[in-house]
Structure formats: structure tokens, C-alpha cells
């Protein structure tokens, strides 16, 4: 049992304790999803108004009478007691039937299938850009020796975190689309339409990454082992990239869930400003119309993505840091 942890290997992932761990985590995930489903159902129920009235009252332009409205409510089971509504909804979701959007009549499954790819694409690109910018800024801030430049570099993340996403997006649009017409102002067509949204979403994310990384780098940089390595005549850059960075990256990994959450939350604003289709827009429209099946579909997708990201992170810990184990026992 005292076999030393051996870096990244497939064999690690197939070990019995790892498989047991994954099984337990999958069970936990189901619990998290159920809790998210139940909580969102309860919150939607507490919100005033019913989705059918909102649906027929588009722009407040209709005078539908009560009897017709009641018929439609019955169709969506909205006339049943709350507990019965809940169990009907839960039963359907367990059978992977997410129902139809009350607002638009499309199936929630197809709405999600249409909205997930553009958001995933946007969020993934923004994550890559944010990692490069955030980590790059932290490394530069650590390596640069002129004090004024270092202060400037280390102040940038605070600025980036303070700027509202909405404003950054409009600024990009004003300059790069309306004034110089380099990138299209709207749409999901090709990489050109992705540049400004990705930049907009990446700025606050990279700021958060840079803040964590620069603190963590400074901590590792001051550890005695760096002195020892430098004494061997290794250059500052080599020391940084090969020895310091991997050690300093662990807190970043812990933040992965938060970063993904931030990206999804930011997508609501980014998708609105850049007129893109996606989960953010879908969620915003569904919540404001109290479109219960649609909101629940979005909640489940978002909760599932959190669960998956956190599971991956937990599995990666022992590979990156031998001091961390899955079972909690010290080896």
C-alpha cells in the first residue's frame, strides 16, 4: 500500500478505491440534482403569478376569459395541489421527460439541445482565454522586477473584477463593431461573432484567476525549496514555469467550480449584449415568464455541470498533489 503516487496515469483512475469513490460521488450527485430540482420548484411556486396567465397575456394584449384560462391551466396540471404537481414533475424528469415550455410550446429537451452548444462554446473559449490572461498576468507580476510595473500589473486584476461585464461588452461593441466594423455586433455565426463575447466574458474571469494565482505564486516563490533550486543555477523563468507554477496551481483547481459558475452567470449578460442564443438567455426568459418546465430544465443542466466539474477536479487532485488522497487516509 505504500506505492508512491505516480504522476498522471490511467492506472490511477482504474484503481479500486478510485472506482468506489466515483460510485459514491455519483450517488451524491444524484442527491444534489434532486435538491436543485426541489428547491427551484419551491422557489418558482412561491413566486407570484402563474405561467399560463403570462403566456396568454403577451404584451398585456389579451382579454381571455377565466373559463378558457382554467382549461389551459388544467392542461399543464397547474390546477392540482402543489405536492401532486411536484411528484408529477419529478416522475417525468426521472423518465428524462422535461416537458414542454409553457411560454413557447417547444420541448424543453430541444430548447436545451439548441442552447447548450453555443453557451458551452462561448464558456470554453472564454475559460481558455481567461486562463492564459490570468495566469500570464500573475506570472509576469511575479517575474517583473521594476516595482512600479509590478504594482501596475498586480492592480489590473482588481480593475478587471470591478468592471461590469455589461459595460465592457457595450464598449467592445461601440469600438470594434459600430465604429470600425471589424466584428459583427450580433449572432452566433462563426468565429468572428465569438471574439467580442469571449473577450467580454474572459476579462472578469481572468481577473479572478490572476488574483488567486498571484497570491499563490508569491507564497510558493518564497518557499525554501525555490532557494535551493536557484542555488543550483536555474534561471528565474525556468524556476517559475517548471517548479513554481504547478505547485501554485492547486488553489486554482479548487476554484474551478466557482469559475465555471461565474462563466455561466456571466453568459446571461454576455448573451444578451451580443444577441446570442444560449443557456443564459433561455434562463432569463424562462424565469421572467415563470416557465416552470423550462426553468427546471436549465437548473438541472447547470447543476449537472457543477457536479461534473467538481468530480473531475476531485479526481485530478491526487494526480497533481501526492499529499491529497481520495479516501482521506494518509499514505
Amino acid at each position: 500500500m505504500s506505492r508512491p503516487s505516480s504522476g498522471l496515469s490511467i492506472r490511477h483512475l482504474l484503481r479500486r478505491d478510485v472506482l468506489l469513490y466515483v460510485a459514491a460521488r455519483v450517488g451524491q450527485s444524484a442527491l444534489v440534482l434532486w435538491a436543485a430540482f426541489t428547491l427551484s420548484f419551491a422557489i418558482l411556486y412561491v413566486l407570484p403569478g402563474d405561467p399560463v396567465s403570462i403566456m396568454v397575456n403577451q404584451d398585456g394584449q389579451s382579454l381571455v376569459d377565466g373559463a378558457e384560462l382554467a382549461k389551459l391551466k388544467a392542461e399543464y396540471n397547474l390546477d392540482k395541489p402543489i405536492t401532486e404537481q411536484y411528484f408529477i414533475a419529478l416522475w417525468r424528469v426521472l423518465h428524462l421527460d422535461f416537458g414542454r415550455s409553457i411560454q413557447s410550446g417547444q420541448t424543453v429537451a430541444s430548447a436545451l439541445a439548441n442552447a447548450i452548444p453555443p453557451t458551452a462554446n462561448l464558456a470554453f473559449c472564454a475559460l481558455v482565454v481567461a486562463l492564459i490572461m490570468g495566469v500570464g498576468l500573475a506570472v509576469l507580476g511575479c517575474l517583473v522586477q521594476a516595482p512600479w510595473l509590478r504594482t501596475l500589473l498586480l492592480a489590473l486584476p482588481s480593475l478587471g473584477a470591478a468592471l461590469p461585464t455589461f459595460w465592457i461588452g457595450l464598449l467592445f461593441l461601440q469600438v470594434l463593431s459600430f465604429h470600425f466594423t471589424i466584428f459583427p455586433a450580433m449572432g452566433n455565426d462563426g468565429w468572428r461573432s465569438l471574439v467580442m463575447p469571449v473577450a467580454t466574458l474572459a476579462i472578469p474571469t481572468s481577473a479572478r484567476i490572476a488574483q488567486v494565482m498571484s497570491r499563490s505564486l508569491a507564497l510558493v516563490w518564497s518557499q525554501p525549496f525555490t532557494e535551493a533550486i536557484r542555488a543550483k543555477g536555474v534561471s528565474r523563468t525556468h524556476l517559475m514555469l517548471v517548479h513554481t507554477l504547478p505547485n501554485a496551481a492547486i488553489p486554482l483547481l479548487t476554484m474551478a467550480g466557482l469559475i465555471v459558475g461565474g462563466l455561466l452567470a456571466g453568459s446571461v449578460v454576455t448573451e444578451t449584449v451580443f444577441s446570442r442564443d444560449g443557456i443564459g438567455r433561455l434562463a432569463q426568459g424562462a424565469v421572467s415568464a415563470k416557465d416552470i418546465p423550462m426553468v427546471q430544465g436549465v437548473v438541472l443542466v447547470v447543476a449537472a455541470s457543477f457536479v461534473v466539474v467538481n468530480l473531475i477536479v476531485d479526481l485530478l487532485y491526487p494526480l497533481l498533489d501526492p499529499r491529497i488522497t481520495l479516501s482521506g487516509k494518509r499514505r
Binding site: L47, P48, G49, D50, P51, V52, S53, I54, V56, N57, Q58, D59, G60, Q61, S62, L63, V64, D65, E68, L69, K71, L72, R100, Q103, S104, G105, Q106, T107, A111, N114, A115, L170, L173, Q174, S177, F178, H179, T181, P184, A185, M186, G187, N188, E271, T272, V273, F274, S275, R276, D277, G278, R281, L282, G285, S288, A289, K290
Partner: protein, 565 residues
């Protein structure tokens, strides 16, 4: 363009052409001189036929340059930015403007309505008759019309459509109301449809011109309501749905064999545009910037604050007030405060509509009646809506409402407070709040979401409602106010109900106008409505866009639209 006959009794075609052109010109004039007084603009509107003739004859006028010297160009895809997801493309189910702007292009109606006079004119029905008691409507269909799947638009298809709308119930939120009281539909032959209502129903003729009663193919009607919303729609209109991605875009493609435009259309045959690309752009600043930088051709949702930008760039702005009920306060008369007529009357007199006019878009007017000026049968009631601060205070004094320490009046321990919950963007309500405070009425504004507002309305525990309703027929008054209809005030039967009922049965134009006018006077005098402002749909276009105009309900009609240089 054809030469127009100089006499006022020209043929239907000549009149419709001149009417169309003059409509276009009057809109242009409004754009060039936005500061013109409302009366002048309205007067211009009434002179439409004359205007059309003048413009057609005198060379060198601005309108001549716009509509005569330029020859329409065929082809091109028009990029139109709309502010919200249309949600449901089916015009029979849709209620919001952004959806109806699309639905109008894919379906045709039995009739059409002249935007300037409100007159009902032929479209898919080449003629019709209405029985003396206005219960039986017989439509004679134009032969040779097909849906885009090839099936004929015949009497059976019309019957299936109207029966389908009734079956949709609340889902067809507008159309099912227009067809309420339908007893039976007969189809004596292939081209004849006879609708019989259980009660007189004059409004149905206008309803037959709306996209809410637009015709869809029997194949489409067999689909479920949700699938139809997603764009699985086959109509007989000049465009067909190519794709629909929610929150993103709707693409329409021209139908090449289209040959049955409305008698109001400016040209025959297929549409000029080869397609329409609707983009959903929620941010108004993005729509404005995109139009100014040439990334879109039409912005259908211009906000008041952006109007100056377009005027400065000399971009064409097309504005038309929505016909129907103006934005108003509708008191709930079961409320202990608003149940008192004197409070409602004092409320009305305390409103300074001239002052409100200063804070709204300059394409918008404050209310001069319960109905907007573009509604057929409209008459001016501005004198009944005058600002009278002293009169308002006197009514409240006489009724025993005395100002309290904070200036808000009270009587028998009851404070004169009115809570208003609304979701629309209406900054002028804050000015109204100030105006009411001057007479000692405390208007508490609670701007919230549509769901919260509708929840409150469902409970019945509200004091006032605030909204407008678009309908190009004065029957909207009966539908909203009559005790046996929506009864927005929750009141008991009154003389006004007899007037509203009579107006729904009156075929004679002058007599109906008179009944409507009397009803409006009573509604204002009894304080059942406190009219505030008209709604105006403001659209800005690129300079290359020609021939775009609002139809009678102030939704967009793209059939005659073309893209020039």
C-alpha cells in the same frame, strides 16, 4: 406607378394606390417636421387622398422623389432587428407585436383594412355581404389561391381555420375573442363561406382582416399547437418560414409563385424582397449602433432616447400610433377608494396631459379620447380630458376629502392612496404621480414583473390597472368595458352598456360613430377610464429601405418593401 384619376370617385385600385402613397408621404412629413402639432398631423392624415393626388401631379416635391422617381428593385434579404424573442410564430396564437410582425408576412387574410380610413377592402375574399342584423357574414373567395404546400385556399379550409381557432381557446388569445358567439360555418360551394353568429357582431368584418384570423393550411392545423409555434407553419402569404432559432433569428423566404396580394398592395405578383432575416437583439443600444453602422436595415423597436440619433443622421423613421385603447388607468370599482365616482373624476381632472406630452417620444401623443386617433370611428374628446386643478380639488373638498398633515387627503380615517402595480416601461407615470399629489392624491407606483402584475390582477385585490390594447376597431371598448364582456371596472350594469351593445350591432357608419362617441363620453364622465397616452410604434430604417409601412393595426407590412442603393 399609374397616373391617378383626378376625381375623388376613382376606381378601387387607383384609390388604394393613392392612399398607400399618401400614407407614405404623410409619414415622411411627420419625420421631417416632428415638431408639427398633433392637430396638423391629424389634419394631414384626413387629407390623404388629396395629398396623394397633389403629390402625384406636382413635380419636385419630396414625396415625388421618394416614391415616384425610384423604381422598386427586386431581390435582397432585409435584415430586421426586433427586441424580443417571438416565442410563437403562429399568428393565430401570437399576441406580441414582434411575433405578429412575422406572422403577417406568412399568412393572408380574407380582407384587409385601409390604415388611413379603416375601410375594409378585399384580399382573399373578393367580396362579401353582411346581413341586416349583422349576424351573418358571407365571404366569396378569390379563386386560384393556394397555401405554400399546394393545397387550395377554399371554403373548407377557411372553415377548418376558424373552427381550429375556437378549439385553441385561450391559446388563440386574440382570435378566439373575435370569433366568440360563432354559431355555425356553412360552405355552400367551394368558394363561399357563411359564418353565422348568435348575436350581432359588426366587429367581425374588421377581425377578418387581422393576422390573428390569418389562414393556415389544413395540414398545419392538424399539428399540435406547440409545433406550430416553432415555425412548422404553412400559410398562403408572400413569405414562408425557412428557419427559427429562439433568441436568435427567424428567416423567411419569398414565395415565387405568389400572386394574390391584398387590394391595398402597391404592386402585383410576388414580394420584392427575396427574404427577411429577423434578428432578435434585446439591447436597444445594440440595435441603434447596428443600424447606424449598416449591420441591420430596420430597427422595429426604437426607444425615445435614441430618436434624436436617427434624426441627426437623417435616417428615415416610420411612426404610427397603435389604434385601439390608449394607455389608461382602469379603476377597480369594488375598491373602497375608487368605488367613489368623485375620486375617479377628481383623478381625471388632475391629469395634465399637455405636460405629459413633454416627457414622451415626440412621435407619441397624449390621449385625446379613450381611443387612439388611428382607430376607425375615432372622435376627439380632448375637451372632456382637460386639466382642471381647481375643479379637481373642489370635487374632493365637496365630497369631504380633507388634506391631512402631509397634504394627502383623507375622509373618515381613509387616506386617498392609490396603489398601481405595472410592468411596462412608462416613466411618465412619475410625472402623473407628481400631478396627482398636487390635488392630494397619493399614487403609489410599483413597477414589477408581468408575472407579479398578472398575479395581482388574478386575485382581484388591486385598485387600478394600467395598460393599452391594440385593435383597429372601436369594438375594443365593448370587449373591455361591457358588463357582460371583460368588465374591467367590476361594475354593475349602466346606461353605457346599452350604447356599447348597440354599437356592436350598428352597420351604418355615421350611426356607429355616434354611438361610440357617446359611449366614450359616458366612460369618461363616469370615471371608468382615465386615458393617458397613445402608444406609437416607432421604426427606423436604413436610407436604402423603401416602401415599408404599418398596416391598420400598426404592425409591419413588408410586401411592398424593397432595398435600393
Amino acid at each position: 406607378m399609374t397616373l391617378l384619376r383626378a376625381d375623388a370617385t376613382g376606381t378601387q385600385e387607383a384609390l388604394s394606390l393613392s392612399g398607400y402613397r399618401s400614407l407614405f408621404c404623410s409619414v415622411r412629413l411627420r419625420k421631417v417636421k416632428p415638431m408639427l402639432g398633433d392637430e396638423i398631423v391629424r389634419y394631414l392624415g384626413k387629407l390623404t387622398v388629396v395629398m396623394g393626388l397633389v403629390v402625384g401631379v406636382i413635380p419636385g416635391s419630396a414625396c415625388l422623389a421618394d416614391s415616384v422617381q425610384l423604381t422598386p428593385k427586386d431581390g435582397g434579404v432585409l435584415r430586421v432587428a426586433q427586441s424580443s424573442d417571438p416565442l410563437c410564430l403562429d399568428p393565430q396564437q401570437a399576441g406580441n407585436n414582434d411575433s405578429l410582425n412575422i406572422g403577417r408576412q406568412i399568412t393572408d387574410s380574407l380582407t384587409d383594412q385601409r390604415p388611413d380610413t379603416g375601410e375594409i377592402v378585399p384580399w382573399l375574399a373578393s367580396r362579401w355581404t353582411v346581413s341586416q342584423d349583422s349576424r351573418v357574414f358571407t365571404f366569396y373567395l378569390r379563386p386560384g389561391v393556394t397555401f405554400s404546400d399546394g393545397t387550395p385556399v377554399d371554403a373548407a379550409a377557411v372553415k377548418t381555420n376558424f373552427e381550429g381557432i375556437l378549439k385553441l381557446g385561450a391559446r388563440a388569445s386574440l382570435g378566439s375573442g373575435y370569433l366568440a358567439g360563432l354559431k355555425e360555418i356553412q360552405t355552400p360551394d367551394r368558394d363561399t363561406v357563411v359564418l353565422t353568429f348568435s348575436k350581432p357582431n359588426v366587429q367581425f368584418l374588421q377581425a377578418s382582416s387581422t393576422m390573428s384570423l390569418g389562414l393556415l393550411s389544413p395540414g398545419t392545423l392538424a399539428r399540435d399547437a406547440g409545433a406550430r409555434c416553432q415555425g412548422q407553419l404553412v400559410g398562403s402569404g408572400p413569405f414562408t418560414v425557412t428557419s427559427f432559432v429562439h433568441n436568435q433569428r427567424v428567416v423567411l423566404t419569398r414565395r415565387e409563385d405568389y400572386a394574390w396580394p391584398s387590394s391595398l398592395a402597391g404592386h402585383q405578383g410576388k414580394a420584392y424582397l427575396s427574404g427577411i432575416d429577423y434578428r432578435i437583439v434585446p439591447e436597444s443600444g445594440v440595435r441603434t449602433g447596428s443600424l447606424l453602422s449598416g449591420q441591420i436595415d430596420v430597427d422595429t423597436g426604437v426607444l425615445a432616447q435614441d430618436e434624436r440619433l436617427f434624426t441627426a443622421q437623417a435616417l428615415p423613421v416610420i411612426a404610427r400610433p397603435n389604434p385601439g385603447l390608449v394607455f389608461s388607468l382602469f379603476p377597480n370599482e369594488t375598491d373602497p377608494v375608487l368605488g367613489h365616482k368623485e375620486v375617479r373624476l377628481a383623478l381625471n381632472k388632475a391629469v395634465n396631459r399637455q405636460e405629459i406630452k413633454n416627457v414622451i417620444s415626440h412621435y407619441q401623443s397624449s390621449a385625446s379620447s379613450a381611443l387612439a386617433g388611428t382607430t376607425p370611428f375615432y372622435t376627439d374628446h380632448a375637451s372632456e380630458l382637460g386639466f382642471d386643478l381647481a375643479g379637481s380639488k373642489k370635487i374632493l373638498d365637496d365630497a369631504g376629502w380633507r388634506p391631512g398633515s402631509d397634504g394627502i387627503r383623507e375622509r373618515d380615517g381613509q387616506r386617498l392612496v392609490i396603489h398601481l402595480s405595472y410592468w411596462q416601461s412608462a416613466p411618465y407615470l412619475e410625472l402623473l404621480q407628481e400631478q396627482l399629489r398636487a390635488v392630494g392624491i397619493d399614487l403609489v407606483l410599483n413597477q414589477t414583473t408581468i408575472s407579479q402584475t398578472s398575479a395581482l390582477q388574478n386575485t382581484g385585490k388591486y385598485q387600478v390597472q394600467f395598460y393599452n390594447l391594440t385593435r383597429s376597431d372601436p369594438d375594443i371598448l365593448r370587449a373591455v368595458f361591457a358588463v357582460d364582456a371583460h368588465n374591467v371596472n367590476n361594475r354593475k350594469a349602466e346606461p353605457v352598456d346599452a350604447l356599447l351593445d348597440a354599437s356592436s350591432a350598428e352597420l351604418d357608419v355615421e350611426r356607429r360613430r355616434n354611438l361610440i362617441s357617446q359611449a366614450v363620453t359616458l366612460l369618461i364622465e363616469e370615471g371608468h377610464i382615465i386615458p393617458l397616452v397613445e402608444v406609437t410604434t416607432v421604426v427606423a430604417t436604413a436610407k436604402t429601405v423603401h416602401g415599408l409601412h404599418h398596416e391598420a393595426s400598426s404592425r409591419l407590412q413588408f410586401f411592398d418593401t424593397w432595398i435600393g442603393r
